[in-house]
C-alpha cells in the first residue's frame, strides 16, 4: 500500500526542513502550486530546477503531439511533467544498477513485452519507452505487458488510441511477420561454428601435451643416465639444507673402488679421518661406509678392515668450513645414539 502524502503533511515536513513556522510553510506550498497553475495558464513551459519541467503540448485527434499547428477545433493542450534528472535518479535508485543487456538470438521471453524500434515516429506514448543512450526514437508495437497504471491523461489517450488502433495493429502484424521471417532465417554462421572451433582447440591442446609427454619418455629411454644424475643432485642439495643422515647412505654407493685400511692398535676413526681427509670431523663418513661392521663408533675393534670412502661420495673437503661443520653435526648425531 502506497503512503499518501497531502499538503498538511508536506507542510509539516517543509517547516522542519526549512526551519520555518507551519503557517509560513503552508502558505509557501499553497502559493507554490497556485503559481505553477497560474503560469501554465499563460505560458507553455515552466522549468523548476532539480524538480522538473511542466510543459503544454498540442494534441491532435490522431494522437500525435504537435507544437506548431494553428488553431484547430480537433486539437487541445495536454499537460506533461518531465522530472529532472536528479529526481529521476533518486526515484529509480532501486533499479539504478541495472543496464540494458544484449540478448542472444535464441533467447526468448514469452512473458515480456516486445518493443520494436522505429525511426522518425515519436508518439504520445514515448514516455513508456525511455531507454538510456538509445539514439533513435522508438514506438511501441506490441504492448504485451499490462500498462502499469492508467494515468488521468487517459481521457485524451482514449480518443487517440481509437484513432491509431487500426494503424498499430497493421504495423504490429507486419512486424510480427518480419520477426517470424527473421526467426526462420538461418542462424549466424559464427554462432554455429563456435562450439566446433572450441572442441577442435581443446583436442589440439590435448594432442600437444600427449606428444610432448611421449617425447619426454622417449628421451628418457635414449639417455637413462641423465635422470639418476639429476635425482642424486637434487637429493644432495636437499641434504645440504636439512642434513638427514639417511640421505648419505643412499648416495654412499659409488662405482669407484675404495681404499681399505686396517685399524691398527691405538688408532681411532678420528685419527684415520685426519690422516685421510685432513680433518678429524670426517670420521663419521668412515663410520657410514663401514656401518655394517662397526656396531658402535665409540668401540671399534682392533684389526678391522675399514673401507675409506671417496671424498666425492660425501662431499668431503677439509678446506670448506661448511663441509667440516656438516660432518661435525652428523658425528654428534651419531654419537648421541650410543649415549
Amino acid at each position: 500500500m502506497k503512503e499518501e502524502v497531502n499538503l498538511q503533511e508536506l507542510t509539516l515536513l517543509l517547516s522542519k526542513h526549512a526551519d520555518i513556522s507551519t503557517q509560513d510553510a503552508e502558505s509557501f506550498l499553497k502559493e507554490f502550486f497556485t503559481t505553477i497553475s497560474k503560469i501554465l495558464l499563460t505560458e507553455d513551459l515552466l522549468e523548476i530546477k532539480d524538480f522538473g519541467t511542466f510543459s503544454l503540448t498540442q494534441v491532435s485527434a490522431k494522437g500525435a503531439a504537435q507544437n506548431t499547428e494553428e488553431n484547430n477545433p480537433s486539437t487541445w493542450l495536454r499537460l506533461h511533467f518531465s522530472p529532472a534528472e536528479e529526481l529521476k535518479n533518486i526515484v529509480n535508485k532501486p533499479f539504478s544498477h541495472f543496464e540494458s543487456v544484449l540478448l542472444n538470438e535464441d533467447v526468448s521471453f514469452d512473458d515480456l513485452a516486445k518493443v520494436t524500434e522505429n525511426e522518425g515516429d515519436k508518439t504520445s506514448e514515448d514516455f513508456l519507452i525511455e531507454i538510456n543512450h538509445e539514439k533513435a526514437p522508438e514506438k511501441i508495437v506490441e504492448a504485451a505487458a499490462e500498462k502499469t497504471e492508467k494515468l488521468p491523461e487517459a481521457y485524451e489517450e482514449k480518443e487517440t488510441t481509437a484513432a491509431t488502433k487500426n494503424e498499430k495493429t497493421t504495423i504490429a502484424k507486419a512486424e510480427n511477420a518480419g520477426l517470424e521471417k527473421h526467426k526462420k532465417k538461418k542462424r549466424k554462421p559464427t554462432a554455429r561454428w563456435m562450439p566446433i572451433l572450441g572442441t577442435v582447440a581443446v583436442a589440439a591442446v590435448l594432442i600437444f601435451f600427449f606428444v610432448s609427454e611421449q617425447r619426454k619418455q622417449q628421451a628418457l629411454k635414449d639417455n637413462p643416465e641423465k635422470v639418476p644424475a639429476k635425482v642424486t643432485e637434487a637429493k644432495t642439495s636437499q641434504a645440504n639444507l636439512t642434513i638427514p643422515t639417511d640421505s648419505f647412505q643412499l648416495t654412499a654407493e659409488s662405482p669407484e673402488e675404495n681404499e681399505k685400511v686396517k685399524l691398527s692398535a691405538g688408532k681411532t676413526l678420528r685419527m684415520i679421518a685426519l690422516e685421510k681427509f685432513g680433518n678429524r670431523e670426517f670420521w663419521v663418513y668412515i663410520y657410514y661406509k663401514n656401518k655394517d661392521i662397526i656396531k658402535n663408533p665409540n668401540i671399534v675393534p682392533e684389526g678391522i678392515e675399514l673401507t675409506i670412502p671417496n671424498k666425492s661420495e660425501y662431499d668431503i673437503d677439509a678446506s670448506n668450513p661448511q663441509s667440516v661443520t656438516k660432518a661435525k653435526l652428523l658425528g654428534e648425531i651419531e654419537l648421541k645414539k650410543f649415549r
Binding site: 503512503e3 499518501e4 499538503l7 508536506l10 515536513l13 517543509l14 526542513h17 509560513d24 510553510a25 509557501f28 507554490f32 502550486f33 497556485t34 503559481t35 505553477i36 497553475s37 495558464l41 515552466l46 522549468e47 523548476i48 532539480d50 524538480f51 522538473g52 488553431n71 484547430n72 487541445w76 493542450l77 499537460l79 506533461h80 511533467f81 522530472p83 536528479e86 529526481l87 533518486i90 526515484v91 529509480n92 535508485k93 533499479f95 541495472f98 543487456v101 544484449l102 540478448l103 521471453f109 515480456l112 513485452a113 516486445k114 518493443v115 520494436t116 524500434e117 514516455f127 519507452i129 531507454i131 538509445e134 522508438e138 505487458a145 502499469t148 497504471e149 494515468l151 488521468p152 491523461e153
Partner: protein, 94 residues
Amino acid sequence: MTTEDFVNELSKQLSLDLPKTSEILTAAVNVIKEKLSEGACITIESFGIFDTEKKPEYILVKQNEQQQFLVPPKITVVFKPDSAFIEKIKKKEV
C-alpha cells in the same frame, strides 16, 4: 519560464526576499523528492497527484541491427493533473 522567473514570481506573491524564497523552494523540492523516493504519492488538491510507477522490463527489438535488448524495469515519476486543472488548461486558447 525558468526557475529564476518562477522564484521572482513566488517572492512577489509571498512578499519574501529572493534568497529566502529560493532557500524555501529548494527545501520544498527536497521534501517532495524525499517523499517520492520513498514511494509515496503526493496529492495536492485542485492541482494534481505526483506519483511513481514501475515500468516493467521489456525486450527492445532493433530490426535494423537485428538485435534484441532486455531493458530493465524502471521507476518513474508521473504527474496526474487534477480534473479541474485539466479543464482550465483545455479552456486555454491553443
